[in-house]
């Protein structure tokens, strides 16, 4: 009975308990999100945690989903970019990304946005150096870096306004 109970693995993703399909228990979180569950915002870019395109939040911390095994995450609170928009209202970070027209190809941007969400939760008023440090390992080849910096600042400002 215990074994049967243990056979279905569940994850908490964007506050919902979601069952992992059989056969995916040995996979990375990225593979499960992107391929098994269709939460495709996190992207495969390098597979070794260097580019940041697969960044999601684990218990509020920005982490590389290509480096995480789902079997270790049963008790974790996983947040993906699909969970940011609530009642079709963009999150302030998403809003800032639209207002600054950040995206070129866009492939890295979900990872940039999730890293920013984690940054602004722990540090609502980051300095330029703190922004560059938090996003240092989120690569973008199109060259949107200047707009990313502006969008993070804009999001921080708008969250401040909302808070006050």
């Amino acid at each position: 009975v215990i074994f049967l109970w243990a056979q279905t693995m569940q994850l908490t993703i964007n506050k919902q308990r979601i069952e992992i399909p059989a056969g995916w228990e040995d996979e990375t979180l990225l593979a499960v999100l992107h391929e098994a569950l269709g939460l495709v915002g996190a992207k495969f870019g390098c597979g070794v945690g260097l580019c940041g395109a697969c960044t999601i939040l684990i218990n509020g911390q920005a982490q590389r989903s290509c480096q995480l095994r789902v079997q270790n995450l049963a008790d974790s609170n996983i947040e993906t970019i699909e969970g940011l928009t609530i009642d079709s209202q963009p999150h302030p970070v998403q809003r800032a990304w639209l207002d600054e027209a950040v995206s070129q190809c866009g492939y890295c941007q979900a990872g940039q946005i999730m890293t920013t969400v984690a940054l602004l939760r722990r540090n609502p008023k980051p300095t330029t150096v703190e922004i560059e440090s938090a996003l240092a390992a989120n690569l973008c080849r199109c060259g949107t870096q200047q707009r990313i910096r502006l969008a993070v600042q804009r999001a921080a400002d708008s969250i401040q306004v909302h808070a006050s």
Binding site: V40, A101, C105, C142, Q145, Q146
Partner: protein, 710 residues
């Protein structure tokens, strides 16, 4: 499981040609005409649809062409939907390359949209239209007075609008080929020797029984169709992506690789001085005779290495055959029609049975112009009779993709009374347009007779010099080379504009004035003058910043150029060099850019910003390590690209005086030399090997201090 068997597709299927002596599929490059464009815009039940005739790879051409269509149709923004087409939805269009999309597609689209607008005003609701071409000036989006009428709510040209697909991007919605999921989809990979595909390689041994025990194993596929270049491929299929790694490990394949590559061999092959010592070069751009007996005022050798595109999305394709044997392929390609033609020929399928669907591309930069992963997916799906997704690993991108060719340049300049009298630029590189990733050696020997316009791009001298010679030769390399943002314009301008800067110093003339003294092109003169004023380029060019600690040296540099005789850019770069660590930091970039009539100023700026980040990469980062078997890079750590902290504040000034709209995707790449010249200004050292790494700076500083000043 009956699929747990070695699966070899052979017999019954006709292989279209013998590997090795085939004539490759040649990409078709038709001009876009209004008659084609009428199929791009549709009116259905009160709404409009634009089938995007260009690949969307982040240049946000979907937004620009939507602006043209909305302007001409005189409709609100949300009345029109943009869709990325399949090869079935529109007439054949050529590859999305060379910054041509606005230049060549805006006018036909405007003509077609105007025809559609008139038809609807006349009460037509259905049917196929014939375009009535009208004078360009009478088109709303091309009329010179458009911007004067900006107050009209339906005026879209020259506006900043929310980018098409941006909302989906920030919400993580499926847009890319990698996001495609099909019922019962399997995951595939084609294993090859860890060697350049130019080297013949084949399977020696694999532990296939061990691989079958891996959870998620589905099949192995062996077929000569999987050969890429001269590299034999072994296909593996699995139920999950992670199982591919475990199968690959269990197979423990040993490969036979014939020959080796060696970076020294590549450097020797590309060595321009060695080539000059052997005699004349094969292609000339400027053909004057130059006198080599008299001394030269500038005599510099520049070396620019192999570089990767580094798109964050590794190439990916999903293939799915329907019950009737028709193939649907979802790709992130700059040329869906070429993909179709290659797959049709290689698999011997009837053309009407292959549909290639265009998806948003996660970065391309010239690199996603050939057919690689798409063919792998099509072959594996055909073998297993199930949908298959194949996405290359980062290591496969480096190993089996093509790269910016290395080049070496010898530039000699002779002055007379402060003016350039003789210019001699000789360079050696490898193929770009006639890439060895597609074109076999025997065919390259023919194409070499006409040169390679990709390699030559940007080499024609803009400056007025009485005697000038520019010539180059090409050598096929054992690693794949091909188009990379700006093609030859990046390396050629880096070398030329560095040499001009050095020449100005020797002449004792401000590098801005020195350029202006030798230029006739008024648009280039204008961007130079504008950048000088925007960046407050002073007469001495040296910034004395006394607020910096003594180990921080500051410098400022200038570069300018014309891209494809259509767009103009001038760049000023400021740098700081820490002489203790050798670290170079670009602290400010100012760029003035003229691409004629601007449809979307914000996105022209975005393209300039992207190019300037590539300029930083070209000077400070881009290179690929080469080992015995080919490209040795495996991860981004082996081939770094600029980080957020490497990118300074960037200012873009746009010039639009109503000239014909051209392209903005690659022009500002001519600015790389501004950074190199700023380093020269900061340290009094001319670096001629790129990229300039921290150790290079330290080594050069040590050499400079150990030598007595003359």
């Amino acid at each position: 499981m009956k699929r747990r068997t070695m699966l070899a597709i052979s017999g019954g299927l006709v292989v279209g040609f013998m590997t090795g002596c085939a004539i490759p599929v040649i990409p078709k490059r038709p001009q876009a005409k209004s008659a084609n464009a009428i199929g791009w815009v549709q009116y259905v039940d009160g709404r409009y649809l634009l089938w995007l005739p260009r690949a969307e790879m982040g240049q946000n051409i979907a937004t620009a062409l939507k602006q043209i269509a909305c302007e001409e149709l005189d409709i609100a923004w949300d009345q029109l939907d943009v869709q990325l087409p399949s090869t079935r939805d529109i007439d054949l269009v050529r590859a999305t390359v060379g910054s041509e999309s606005v230049k060549d597609y805006a006018l036909p689209l405007a003509q077609a949209s105007a025809t559609l607008r008139d038809a609807i005003l006349a009460g037509r609701q259905t049917g196929k239209l014939q375009v009535t071409e009208r004078p360009v000036e009478s088109l709303r989006s091309f009329s010179r007075s458009t911007r004067a009428m900006k107050t009209d709510s339906n005026r879209w040209i020259g506006q900043r609008v929310e980018l098409e697909q941006a909302r989906d991007i920030v919400q993580g919605k499926p847009l890319y080929a990698s996001d495609i999921r099909r019922p019962g989809m399997l995951f595939g990979r084609v294993l090859r020797a860890p060697a350049a595909p130019e080297l013949a390689s084949r399977l020696l041994h694999m532990n296939d029984s061990a691989s079958r025990d891996v959870t998620g194993f589905v099949a192995l596929v062996q077929h000569e169709w999987l050969t890429f270049g001269r590299s034999e491929g072994i296909g593996i299929l699995a139920r999950t992506p992670g199982a591919l790694d475990r199968i690959e490990a269990a197979l423990a394949i040993r490969w036979q690789v014939d020959g080796s590559v060696g970076s020294q061999d590549i450097n020797a092959t590309i060595d321009i001085d060695r080539q000059l010592g052997r005699g004349t070069l094969s292609n000339a751009i400027h053909k004057d005779r130059v006198d080599d007996d008299k001394p030269w005022d500038v005599n510099l050798r520049f070396d620019i290495p192999l570089a990767a595109h580094g798109a964050i999305e590794p190439r990916v394709a999903v293939a799915d055959y329907d019950d009737g044997g028709a193939l649907n392929l979802w790709v992130g390609s700059q040329d869906i029609f070429y993909i179709r033609d290659v797959v049709v020929k290689r698999l011997g399928l009837p053309p009407e049975k292959v549909t290639v669907h265009s998806c948003r591309i996660g970065g391309a930069f010239g690199g996603k112009t050939i057919c690689t992963v798409e063919l792998e997916a099509a072959i594996l799906a055909r073998a297993i009779r199930a949908p298959v997704k194949v996405q290359w690993s980062r290591g496969q991108e480096y190993r089996y993709g093509f790269h910016r060719p290395p080049s070496s340049h010898r530039i000699r300049i002779r002055l007379n009374n402060g003016r350039m009298e003789t210019w001699w630029h000789a360079f050696m590189s490898s193929h770009i347009l006639f890439t060895n990733a597609v074109v076999p050696p025997w065919m390259q020997r023919l194409t070499d007779l006409i040169g390679d316009n990709g390699v030559a791009r940007g080499a024609a001298l803009t400056y007025r010099v009485p005697h000038r010679r520019t010539e180059f030769s090409l050598a096929r390399l054992p690693v794949f080379t091909g188009p990379w943002r700006g093609l030859g314009a990046g390396p050629n301008h880096l070398a030329i504009e560095s040499a001009i800067d050095e020449c100005a110093r020797i002449a004792g003339v401000n590098p801005l004035q020195f350029r202006l003294d030798h230029l006739d092109n008024l648009r280039l003169v204008k961007v130079l003058e504008r950048v000088a004023s925007a960046a407050q380029w002073d007469s001495t060019t040296v910034i004395h910043n006394h607020t910096k600690p003594s180990h921080i040296k500051t410098g400022r540099g200038l570069a300018s150029g014309i891209y494809k005789e259509m767009s103009y850019a001038a760049v000023v770069a400021d740098v700081e060099v820490d002489i203790n660590t050798g670290k170079v930091r670009v602290t400010r970039l100012v760029c003035v850019h003229d691409c004629g009539r601007i449809i979307n100023p914000d996105q022209v700026r975005a393209q300039c910003e992207g190019n300037l980040v590539w300029c930083i990469g070209m000077v400070l980062h881009d290179k690929l390590p080469v080992a015995d078997a080919g490209i040795a890079a495996r991860t981004f750590a082996d081939a770094p690209i600029p980080l957020l902290s490497d990118v300074p504040p960037i200012e873009i000034v746009l010039v639009d005086e109503g000239e014909v709209a051209t392209g903005a995707g690659e022009t500002a790449i001519v600015g790389a030399a501004a950074i190199a010249n700023a380093i020269r200004n900061a340290l009094d050292i001319r670096f001629t090997r790129f990229p300039i790494l921290q150790d290079d700076v330290l080594t050069a500083l040590r050499a400079a201090t150990s030598q007595p000043k003359v």
